[in-house]
């Protein structure tokens, strides 16, 4: 067990290291100079610009040798300092991101978890009868083949324009005060629904298809045949098949996270929903490298943590791994 975890930890740390290095490289590789970009926005007088230039270069540590900048970056991360945004100068990047994180969590967590549970249930359903299979299967395939942003656009168009039930953009109405009042919560949910539904539907399709295939595979396994030979009712056979089929679906969740993040990004863009995805878009368009850097760092950490949690979860639910590691077998 210990060996397994140490090895996993090593890979995670290595991945983190590589990913952070790539992340650090983003502003360094940009042609031109982030400070220049910053100053261009301020449109200062030439003389003043020169002064500001050397000030900011020092402030951003760009006058130090490269290796020192790299080291400082790591130190800064552990202090929670992700630099200052250019787009929303002079706000610190970490603050901007932290504002966006709750929106992301409220959007991603329910949509991922609910679609996973519902998708798996429906997929298992589809494996019951041919009729169900022929209806659920095509729906699932169409949904999973649908590009995230297009479904978002479609939902937005139908449910916000053609039938103006939901709002098209943002997470709350302009005049709303952010508090924990019922009005705010209701307003937020009203805005939240379309991006949530859009993400949910595409992911749902994927899980349903995956589960349906896994269940069919499990129903062909020896233990399923033995249960049938013992005359166990259909329900028990299905229950065992489901329980066995869920395991690869858990690993599948970890693998899909990168794709889901990308999907959330474009969905947020369509609905101008103030999550990290939306931030990234703005940062790309305005060449705010530090913001981009910070956002990506966040996503990396999120994905790694999620992967780790799922690894732990998998060990708990699959006894074969536990036993295999304990070295117990006759």
């Amino acid at each position: 067990m210990k060996q397994y975890f140490t090895r996993k930890l090593f890979i995670y740390i290595l991945t983190f290291f590589i990913a952070v290095t790539i992340d650090w490289l983003i502003p360094r590789f940009m042609p031109g100079n982030p400070v220049q970009v910053l100053l261009a926005r301020a449109s200062l007088h030439a003389e003043a610009a020169k002064e500001m230039y050397s000030y900011y270069t020092k402030a951003f540590g760009l006058d130090l040798p490269l290796w020192k900048q790299y080291l400082n970056f790591w130190i800064a991360i552990f202090h929670g300092d992700l630099g200052t945004s250019i787009l929303l100068f002079p706000q610190p990047v970490i603050k901007i991101i932290m504002r966006a994180v709750p929106y992301d969590i409220f959007l991603l967590l329910p949509s991922i978890l609910l679609s996973w549970f519902a998708g798996n249930k429906f997929g298992a359903f589809a494996a019951r009868t041919k009729w169900l299979d022929n209806t659920i299967l095509p729906v699932g395939y169409i949904l999973t083949a649908t590009p995230y942003m297009w479904l978002a656009i479609l939902l937005g168009w139908v449910l916000a324009m053609v039938f103006p039930i939901f709002p098209l953009a943002y997470a709350s109405s302009p005049a709303m005060i952010h508090s924990f009042s019922w009005i705010f919560i209701a307003d937020y949910l009203w805005h939240w629904f379309l991006p949530f539904a859009s993400l949910f539907m595409v992911m749902f399709g994927g899980w349903a298809i995956g589960m349906r295939n896994m269940i069919i595979y499990e129903l062909e396994a020896d233990y399923s045949h033995y249960l049938e030979a013992l005359g166990a009712p259909r329900k028990l056979v299905r229950r065992y098949a489901f329980r066995n089929a869920i395991l690869p679906q858990v690993t599948g969740l970890a693998l899909q996270l990168g794709i889901i993040m990308a999907g959330a990004l474009v969905t947020e863009v369509v609905f101008s929903y103030p999550g990290i995805g939306y931030l990234i878009l703005g940062a790309i368009q305005n060449q705010d490298f530090f913001l981009i850097q910070g956002c990506f760092l966040f996503i990396i950490i999120e994905v790694l943590i999620a992967n780790f949690l799922i690894d732990v979860l998998y060990i708990i639910i699959d006894p074969r791994i536990r036993i295999g590691m304990g070295g117990k077998s006759a």
């Binding site: 396994a221 020896d222 233990y223 045949h225 033995y226 249960l227 049938e228 030979a229 013992l230 005359g231 166990a232 009712p233 329900k235 028990l236 065992y240 329980r243 066995n244 395991l247 699959d318 006894p319 074969r320 036993i323 295999g324 117990k328 077998s329 006759a330």
Partner: protein, 321 residues
Amino acid sequence: MSLKVNNLKVYYQTLRGDVKALDGATFTIADGEIMGLAGESGCGKSTLSNSLILLKPPMRFVGGKVELDNEELPIWDMEKMNDFRFKKISTIPQYAMNAMNPIRKIGKMVSEILKSKKVDFKSTLPELKRRLDLVELSHDVLNMYPIELSGGMKQRMVMVLSTLMNPSLLMADEITSALDVSTQKAVAKMLVEFRDREFVKKLMVITHDISILYQIADSIMIMYAGKLAEKAPTSVIINSPRHPYTKLLISSLPDIGVKYSQKKLTGIPGKPPMLLIPPTGCRFRERCPVAFQKCLNEEPPFVEIKKGHFIACWKEFEKNA
């Protein structure tokens, strides 16, 4: 009380047509009888045992009647057969080593199966433990996962589980194939013990290894190409078989202590026929050393030529007549 099978026909559906894998089997197994079922691969013995316990696509019920203890078995009806499975008819499958759910503790699995069959686990537990003792399995296995057991242990567990409800008919499908010789002996002895203690009333042991049947079976039934060839008490089959195929089969078995230089090992040249479009007449005629004109045109019926001795062979009928 007995198992009466009458003209059972079960075909395999394939895209090219029906493969006549089991084409009219008629036989009886009496209480207390261990009948061995032997034959080459593809002769239909697995089809026979599978059709009795789990007849599902691509197998197709074509005709015939099966009676167990004077009750007709609705083998074509998957749902209705559930009432009979486990309690009246049971099986130790070929894949016994993989037969248990890998992610369930064995005891939990047993309790769930019993519960689903409306049997009370608690009251059955003492008997379950006694049976475990009988097959020399520790009670601890109930708390373990299948992966923690060796192949032989898993097989014994399946044997215990399959016979827990004292079924009237137990079918053991190639259960010694994957074992070493000493374990084979132990398992074979266990089967006999189950019968002796009346855990099971009738046993059908399917194998291609006749030497095992020699040890434990009361009677042996030989199948060839979907048809029954010969059925007789074990000693008769081994020592004085009458069907040409059986004769060749027995003579191709090596004797202990005999060297190749003394007596050559003979096989049976040729291959079994394809059962998509079976040959007319007797299916063994291509490889039969004594086949004559009648064998080409007419199929020999499976009849009793002597008490307890059934055979399907024109040549032998002639001898009798």
